[in-house]
């Protein structure tokens, strides 16, 4: 009696599995996420065949997300959105967050869409990383409402409400000009930015151009880049400290794209014992306003009222909930408020 050779069975088994796999895959469709149909993104129009934005169950399911939950502005804004949204009629709000991990966020929002979300709220999205979410929403025919979603209109968003980067650059550069005596001509100004953040990138490059137009010398010849926003305060402190070491009389002002970095620059200036170098930031954190009140290096910052932005977005989303109507204008730029020594005492910071 001949024993079956087990080794001979292996190629047969492999072939069988392979045939089975081919047969199974032949029945699969592949979605590359690069194309598809959908009516999302059309502005000023009601979604076809929809009388309101609610689901068939009469509930308006809103899937909110942010990849910036670890930032003061991100947390405050989205927490308020969830709280305020929960008080709206027929709303059901979910919030997905990550620490700048768009891979994670994309997966979660795709799941929310598959689970029947009626609208998406994008909190501080980076438009360079949300293409897959935008496509998924478009395919499902649901609108994306955005807070601070970029620096220009995005057709994938039903509306995006943000603050004007140009205005913030203008006002902060103007504040520096005032601080150094009325003219930036010949003054040495360090510019500190963080290009991976699109808002900071935009306003810092606008500020750089403006400073150069006004005749300022850019300290170090180019903008300094903070590598990690989490350690931005320390990095900015080191930039200013090292620059002052190399150029003891060579710095008049520091323009920083956000307050945490600005506070690092302030610390370096204070440690150097200087009272003739001025700093501006953006965010108007409570900590920043306390520095401004000291009449020290921290001269001014820009306050962005995210609470009022959330209120405005909720009103727009309620219109959609009630009549499936999307706003005519899909990009709304609001003015931020310059907070300096003249009004810091009456300003109530929210961050």
């Amino acid at each position: 009696m001949h024993a079956r050779n087990p080794l001979a069975l292996k190629p047969l088994a492999a072939a069988g599995i392979g045939l089975f796999a081919i047969a199974a895959l032949a029945g699969c469709s592949v979605d590359t996420g690069q194309g598809g149909s959908g009516s999302g993104g059309d502005t000023g129009a009601a979604a076809p065949d929809k009388k309101d934005g609610k689901g068939d169950d009469g509930v308006f399911k809103v899937a909110a997300f942010t990849a910036g939950y670890g930032t003061p502005g991100g947390k405050l804004t989205l927490d308020y959105f969830v709280e305020a949204g929960g008080e709206q009629d027929d709303w059901e709000v979910t919030l997905d967050t990550s620490e700048f991990n768009y891979d994670e966020i994309t997966t979660e929002i795709q799941a929310q869409i598959q689970n029947g979300a009626d609208a998406i709220l994008a909190g501080f999205p980076d438009p360079r990383q949300t293409a897959v979410i935008e496509q998924a929403a478009a395919d499902a025919g649901i609108p994306i409402f955005s807070i601070d979603g970029g620096v220009e209109a995005n057709d994938a968003f039903a509306v995006d409400i943000t603050f004007s980067q140009q205005q913030m650059a203008d006002e902060t550069v103007g504040a520096l000009e005032e601080a150094v005596g009325g003219s930036l001509e010949g003054k040495d100004v360090m510019v500190i930015g963080h290009d991976p953040h699109i808002g900071i990138q935009t306003r810092s490059h606008l500020a750089l151009d403006l400073l150069e137009e006004k005749g300022a010398n850019i300290a170090g010849g180019e903008m300094k880049q903070v590598l990690n926003p989490g350690t931005g305060r320390t990095e900015a402190l080191t930039f200013v400290q090292d620059y002052l070491q190399a150029n003891p009389d060579g710095l008049d002002a520091v323009w920083v794209g956000w307050d945490d970095g600005a506070l690092g620059a302030v610390k370096a200036i204070n440690e150097a014992g200087r009272d003739d170098i001025f700093v501006t930031g953006v965010d108007a954190l409570k900590e920043t306003t306390e520095e401004i009140k000291k009449d020290g290096p921290m001269y001014a910052s820009m306050a962005q009222d995210w609470i009022s932005v959330v209120d405005q977005v909720i009103d727009i989303m309620n219109d959609y909930r009630d009549s499936a109507t999307l706003p005519d204008e899909n990009f709304i730029e609001l003015p931020a408020e310059l907070i300096d020594r003249s009004n810091v005492d009456s300003f109530e910071p929210t961050l």
Binding site: L227, N228, G230, T231, R233, T234, L237, F239, D242, A246
Partner: protein, 328 residues
Amino acid sequence: MAQTDTLTVQAVAPARRKSFTQLIWQSSTLVALVVLIVVFAIASGGRFASPANLTNILNAVAILTIVAVAQTIVMVVGDFDLSVGMTATMGGATAGALQVAGAGMAPSILAGVAVGIAIGAVNGALVAFLNISAFVATLATMTAVGGLNLLITDGTNIYGWPEEFNIVGQMRINGIPAPVIYAAVISVVVWLVLRFTTLGRRWYAIGGNAEVARLSGVSVRPTRFLAFVAAGGLSALAGVVLVSRLGSAGPHAADDRMMFAVAAVFLGMTLLRSGQANIGGTLIGVAIIGVVQNGLNLVGINTYIQQVLIGLIIIGAVLLSGLKTRNS
């Protein structure tokens, strides 16, 4: 007749002194540091080597030094700790949060360090007693601690504690910043422990060969556990000093220190023929990182290029170490 045995002693050739070239080859990392200092001194028109700038460099790397010393202890026993940066952040955040809540300075600092010790204990338990790989265990604690840091700080910066706490990290003694003094004292103490105490010898023994150490009577598991506890406590202390210096405690304040600490320890390991982690070498490694960052800032090289250069320096140092080990 009495039998006598003649003991023959082989003639032993006298030990050959190392040639100058061999000395340079062996201490190439130190030579690299000296070369970097000279290059930056020249490129910066002399500003690099001024006493004020050298003090700046020491102040800038003081926190990193403490974290790197912590990492050295763990690497002496042959392990790795990815959580040192996050632990430092948590130590600082805990101390800051407690003070803002009204707790006194001393209890807050102690609590901050205690939190670090607790994290170290968790790492030690996972690695030493549950035999989980140090890389995996500390990666897990790093992730968890990162989340805790966000919870403690609520995702923003804690500040507004009594001014006396800021003095801890901002005062100067005879012109030397306090963080530099703390880093120096901690380095010396840990060096003494590693060099002259039984605990230090046991750590090195475990790092050399854990099984041989065990057979020699060393209680490997508790000793290895202690290494992680020490690393956690020191890392948290670094974080406390950092937030005192900055005047605020953010959720990511010291996170990046881990990678630079590892780089510093690896650079330091190239100084010894055995390739073992050592405090002196770590300090040289920290100095190289500080000199490169400061020097490049002074001559205006942007931070993106700085990152590339620091990475290349580390690769170069480790390759050199590998070549030295093969040649010996």
